[in-house]
């Protein structure tokens, strides 16, 4: 079999492209779902927090969170059927252990820092959640960890530069950023998951 250097180069490039596409597709399969749904929940919840009063806000958060979690679970189960990971039981245990430990450490941090208002608690939770998402990405060797940086950056900018409109900022800009990033990942790499 004769293969010219140009053909060899093209074949190697095709292999590299396909390997990268596969890794991105697997990583984005779960990333884009959680991004879009969390973005929508935050958009509704934080915008309501800015303009409405306490009892109603709590109900809006509860309903949107439950509906969002249910949709994410259904889509996640569907996506999981596309690629069957042989070591998924071990990975599942690692994921649960990671989030339980992070929750315990986060509780300790909040107890020590003792934030006095809702904005501080909100930002602390968001930053810890972004650390968790990044940790998950590294734990599972996923490549889709980069999105946590712009989300955290937009949240921090809102906290320091627009304290009076912080919740609206969180809803529209941070929630909106998550939806846009999720859609971008979906269009760019996630085509195969829901077809």
């Amino acid at each position: 079999m004769n293969v010219s250097p140009t053909e060899a180069e093209e074949a190697l490039a095709a292999i590299q492209t396909m390997a990268q596409k596969t890794r991105h597709s697997i990583a984005s399969g779960s990333a884009y779902i959680s991004l879009i749904i969390t973005g929508i929940v935050w958009l509704i919840g934080f915008t309501a927090t800015q303009f409405l009063t306490a009892p109603l806000i709590v109900w809006i958060w509860i309903v949107t969170s439950i509906v969002g979690s249910a949709i994410a679970t259904i889509i996640g189960i569907r996506a999981g059927k596309r690629v069957r990971i042989a070591s998924s039981a071990v990975t599942g245990k690692r994921i649960v252990t990671f989030w339980v430990l992070l929750f315990l450490f986060a509780s300790a941090i909040v107890a020590v820092a003792h934030p006095t208002d809702g904005k501080q608690i909100t930002l602390l939770i968001i930053l810890l959640a972004m650390i968790g998402q990044m940790g998950m990405g590294l734990l599972l060797s996923f490549s889709a960890t980069w999105w946590t940086v712009p989300v955290a950056a937009v949240a921090l900018i809102g906290y320091f530069l627009a304290p009076d409109w912080f919740y609206l900022w969180m809803g529209v800009l941070v929630g909106g950023t998550m939806i846009i990033l999720g859609l971008y990942i979906r269009v760019r790499w996630g085509k195969s998951w829901l077809s």
Partner: protein, 97 residues
């Protein structure tokens, strides 16, 4: 010296193997997932998968998930070995340029 493999070198089959080898050993992908990822038709993918399966480079697992038939595909140990050799042979051609 590593040898080129005529079966694997065909462009669609090369991309199929690149995808399957990227997964961990024993991980498998659904036929529809693979079809969309490669952007090929059902018939085209089916024909190439048959060729690879006959050569022993991939394993095809037909099963039912929630009463719906599903076909899962994975690279065999032999497939991974041959693919690795094919890549090494391609790299050797480039180096000798």
């Amino acid at each position: 010296m590593a040898e080129l493999n005529e079966i694997i070198h065909q462009p669609v089959r090369l991309r199929i193997m690149a995808t399957l080898v990227t997964l961990e050993p024993n991980d498998e992908v659904d036929f529809i997932y693979l079809r969309d990822l490669l952007d090929v038709t059902d018939g085209n993918l089916g024909a190439h998968l048959r060729k690879l399966e006959e050569s022993g480079y991939i394993a095809v697992n037909k099963t039912f998930v929630e009463r719906k038939p599903r076909t899962y595909v994975s690279a065999t140990e032999a497939g991974r070995k041959v693919f690795k050799e094919h890549v090494a042979a391609l790299e050797a051609i480039l180096k000798s340029k």
